[in-house]
Symmetry: C2
Subunit: 468 residues, 2 copies
């Protein structure tokens, strides 16, 4: 916030007109330079202000990405890989201007290997597009950040979502990538075998590197058979504690739950406003169970017992697909719904994640802290992973509110780090959490910088991110 407002808009500071000339020779009117387009490409879904690139170009294939990167490398012009623009820490902001490479037309599903449970996609394919494509195969891709993010962006951010407690994050679900590096070479980081001990794990190095080490041109992903049975449940609690304790006990009991989401009273209120639903406006869990008919029944019954022991009630479950979809759509829309609670507020989504044994402490202390500030901050989270978000509602024209929010956020991250947790479970560092990365990783950040320096010595890719 304060960081962002101090940053100059790079377009005014750097001159990349010769780069743009060369790109235009090669790509004609596919090189877009209008301020409307550039401004849009410099802005993600967070409160961070737009930091527009000097130009945007839609790449169609790996060869074009390679050409664009080569031209930018020759002219020392920053390259910012751009997916669906749904990041939350300014990850796609062009802090030093340059060229945003738009992957929205690199959106083909290249192969579906149904027998191996994997797919090969271009980076611009979105998660919903992929699942629509897979519809008739009996397979699905589980990673689901709230927004309809691109697979490239999700891999770059090491994203997760509601299914991570069962299926893992992008870290576990990217099998390999093809990427263009700063020296213009294209590498493929692995074959399709499910495991390999062959050399350094470049796949995992690139996943989560936020476009600072290279640009994805193909991604091979794990997919899963749609379970024989799926059942979703909703239950409500008088107090937050009961909901959190239920989740901890479900995890510790070893129930292979597929989804378990916490939504506090404020979140439920906003959902009812946005989605025209009539949920009880008290702390709530959304749960989902995957497996065989008998396994799902067993999981749901055990979970219901645990919920009841923690004073939960109104445990309703459904296997009806339409009802389930409505439930999860409401969950995914909470970031949009939250805005209705504060007409002038923008959402600032925090993202700590702690070991499950510390989750109740972390949420309770944070809840008390929010109450003391008087800020509006619905709590929602993938609590089975120990990950939760405040949807801090802040009027950015009110310096007092901004200062309170910054201080609250700082205390919250420090609390999570003290509990052996992380400053970001799934949103990444972008340029919003650079200081927290140092707090969390100490001198390991130096090792990260050495790797960046080795693979991208001229700081071509997404400069200013992760390290500042």
């Amino acid at each position: 916030m304060s960081l962002a407002s101090e940053l100059p808009v790079a377009a005014e500071k750097f001159d990349y007109s010769s780069t743009i000339d060369v790109l235009q020779e090669q790509f004609g009117d596919r090189v877009l330079t209008s301020s409307a387009v550039c401004s849009q490409f410099g802005k993600d879904e967070s409160f961070h202000p737009s930091m527009p690139p000097h130009a945007v170009i839609k790449a169609h294939n790996r060869e074009e990405v390679q050409q664009i990167v080569a031209i930018c490398a020759e002219h020392k012009t920053p390259v910012v890989p751009h997916g669906a623009g749904t990041s939350l820490e300014g990850n796609i902001a062009a802090l030093k201007g340059g060229i945003s490479i738009d992957t929205s037309e690199m959106n083909k599903v290249l192969a579906v290997h149904t027998e191996d449970f994997d797919v090969v996609v271009q980076p611009g394919v979105t998660r919903r597009q992929l699942n629509d494509y897979l519809h008739d195969t009996g397979l699905f891709f589980p990673i689901d950040p709230g927004a309809d993010a691109s697979i490239g962006g999700m891999a770059a951010t090491r994203a997760s979502g509601t299914n991570a407690v069962r299926y893992g994050t992008m870290r576990e679900n990217v099998i390999s990538v093809e990427a263009v590096l700063a020296d213009g070479s294209i590498i493929r980081t692995g074959k399709r075998a499910r495991k390999s001990a062959a050399g350094y794990d470049l796949t995992r190095l690139l996943v989560g590197s936020e476009g600072t080490l290279g640009m994805f041109t193909e991604i091979t992903l794990k997919v899963y058979p749609i379970p024989e049975a799926i059942s979703s449940a909703v239950c409500t609690f008088e107090e937050l504690e009961g909901a959190v304790d239920s989740v901890i006990q479900i995890i510790q009991y070893g129930i292979p739950i597929a989804r378990v989401e916490l939504l506090d009273d404020l979140t439920m209120k906003s959902i009812n406003m946005y989605s025209h639903t009539d949920f009880s406006e008290t702390p709530t869990l959304f749960l989902e169970f995957h497996g065989s008919e008998s396994s799902v029944k067993e999981q749901a019954e055990l979970s219901q017992e645990i919920v009841q022991e923690n004073s939960g009630s109104n445990f309703k479950w459904t296997s009806n697909t339409e009802e389930r979809n409505k439930l999860w759509r409401a969950r995914h829309d909470v970031a949009y719904a939250g805005k209705l609670l504060h007409p002038k507020g923008q959402i600032w989504s925090t993202d700590v994640c702690v070991p499950i044994s510390r989750l109740a402490d972390c949420i309770n202390q944070t809840r008390a802290d929010i109450d003391q500030t008087g800020l509006l901050a619905p709590i929602v989270g993938h609590v089975g992973d120990g990950n939760f978000h405040l949807l801090l509602l802040v009027d950015h024209d009110d310096p007092d509110e901004v200062a309170k929010a910054e201080a609250l956020h700082h205390r919250m991250v420090m609390r999570a780090l003290e509990m052996d947790g992380t400053c970001t479970g799934e949103h990444g560092i972008g340029y919003g959490k650079i200081e927290f990365l140092k707090q969390e990783h100490g001198n390991a950040v130096d090792s990260m910088k050495m790797i960046k320096q080795a693979l991208d010595p001229h700081n071509l890719f997404n400069p200013g991110k992760i390290f500042g």
Copy 2:
């Protein structure tokens, strides 16, 4: 083989006496230089000849590792981290001599977080020691290479074993590490949160780096609740095809099988000789199911149906712990058992892994290829992952047998790569598979080398491995 025999023994070529003098000043008679000790530390469990270090020193804690690394860095003396010495590609051989740091006395379990399902261990803790330690907690650590390897060695090699099909490999089960780097600094790669999007994934970079980037001083691992019910099964087949097809169908059906191991007729014969068992000496599957009572029953019944459809018979299952342990001990001992088939033979364990859809082709073609060579080569494997081994039995004093084995191995790896597989599912590159790494990863190996150069510019750690 030919590679190894051409290598000079480094101790004769380099003089590190001044390094050893300084180490002796600091550590006294804990610095061992006898040829018997050094020779033992230069040899793993493979056919690769001993490449002894100049000295061996048992480190007791992170501070001592840091001191030893600092002394070696100052004197440009290679450092070879050493676990239990059970590697299979010469991974711990001191190709350029130097100092082997023995972790066998860094063998403390430092913390067990039962509520978070994680443990913190020193690198010298072995997998059996860890499971003995966990015995009364209701938790277990699933990764089980055949040998009683150290956790440090397993992390360095990105090891797996029979449980990987359900629980993943070291890649998925190391939460974070603490490591001493070449510049003498100590880094910790992460907190205990189950997921994080904070910066580059240094954990996964160090896991599988085979001691070439640093030396582990602490490792945080996932552990799992011992399932409510466990059931193991054995079934036999007239032909290999039926066994392989059963596995493929069990995986593709989505049965969450915990272990599924293929053992061919020769392997079964050797097991009977070694373990004094009376298994049928035909292609056999060992299976294991984990879950609730009802889930295990359901999984076993479905698997039995699949096995029968593929002409499998004698499907026997047991929940008796003693019988189960006997079964899996026999499985883990196959590398030792195989030696009985060929009195002069040494075991050369191959390690390809392919997508499951190609597994039947890969095994069938390999079986036909073995038959043409006349070599003895039992087949055994973690087939649920697409990973299998030949236990090639080779008399290393017979150049003709060696040449045939090398050619067979080469064809086998090329076949796996053509099928989008890997040259090593779990043994690593060491110095035995350097050429295959290049075949598999192409110019991505250059990126690996750049990272090595950035983090270890003087090639201090385990020189000659992975890249040569």
